[in-house]
Amino acid sequence: MPKIPVEQLKPGMKLARPLQNSSGMVLMAEGAELTEARISKIENMGVDSVFIDGPSRPAQPKEDLLDALDRRFAKMGGNPQMSLIKKAVREHIEAMYG
């Protein structure tokens, strides 16, 4: 889940984690859908950023991550279990980019 700065929040986004004040009181529940009103409430609370549902995009380009994956599995022969692990990681990485 990506951590989004308050100024980039948009209505329709959902909170991935409950929003708590410093004493742990929940101010907005996990899964709450953001509206204009809720976004300004978050702004007024002095929060910098919040966790939003959905995959977060890694900072590096997808091709770099996939190349690095190939290098880590470079010596792999025909081991079917290792091929399966590599395939699962490749799909996992691709899913992070939506």
């Binding site: 966790f51 880590r72 990681v89 996992h92």
Partner: protein, 279 residues
Amino acid sequence: MGNMDPKALRSRVENISNIPTIPSVLKQLSTIIENPKISLNEISHFVSKDPALTTKILQMVNSALYGFPGRISSVNHAVMLLGLNVVKGLLLSVSVFEIMHKAMIGLREHSIGVAIASKVLAQRKGLKEPEEVFVAGLLHDVGKVILTLVYPEDYDKTVKEAEAAGISIFEAERNHFSETHAAVAGWLSEKWHFPKKLCDCIANHHRPQVSTLAPLETAIVHMADILVKARGLGFSGDNLVPEVNPKAWDTLGLAEADLREILKELEDSVEQTEEEFKS
């Protein structure tokens, strides 16, 4: 530099408290934990004298990983909820995290990743104590830190040898020290009086097929290590993903869809944890 005498190696490792370069908090903690009759109050007392250690341990137990976010206020309370062994393991790992980061950049991230993946796997397998498997994951590579502290030059050479020869750190260690980081961590976890299952798991995470006391837990940490290496989270000295042991693979019986779900959970938890550990 030929093979080292395994007995001499073991004795140096077990007496790490005598090595001047050992950070004092680890030295003191190690002395306390070595006492088999140590009580909860004595541990709490020791921790409460060290504000930095108190802050770190409370941060860790209050992280979202444990399901009590923001609710654990004291070390006593943490022991009640998580058990003495888990708290001991967490204390040791926070006290080596800093050295871990210096010993090998990325090893701390790798260890946290393996701990989380171990816990996710333990929960999927219905284990009653997923937190103990988490601790085994957290400490599985602590032997690398200990070897760096005890033999800084030799260990540096070993890491470089592994890279130049294209072999695993595990093999390079065996060539150089006759034993490996897994054995080293196993000796220490016995000395620290961790449950036998936990010691077995840590000592055999590279050869899960020989585990007799905790075959399932050992297969879990073995698999977690491979998944974290495959995903490339952190760095543990190996550039290549080691092969999964066939027996461990069968014990876990994971399909591709399971692997993807585990990776997803791992990714989400690591992301949250990084936020929490930064502060």
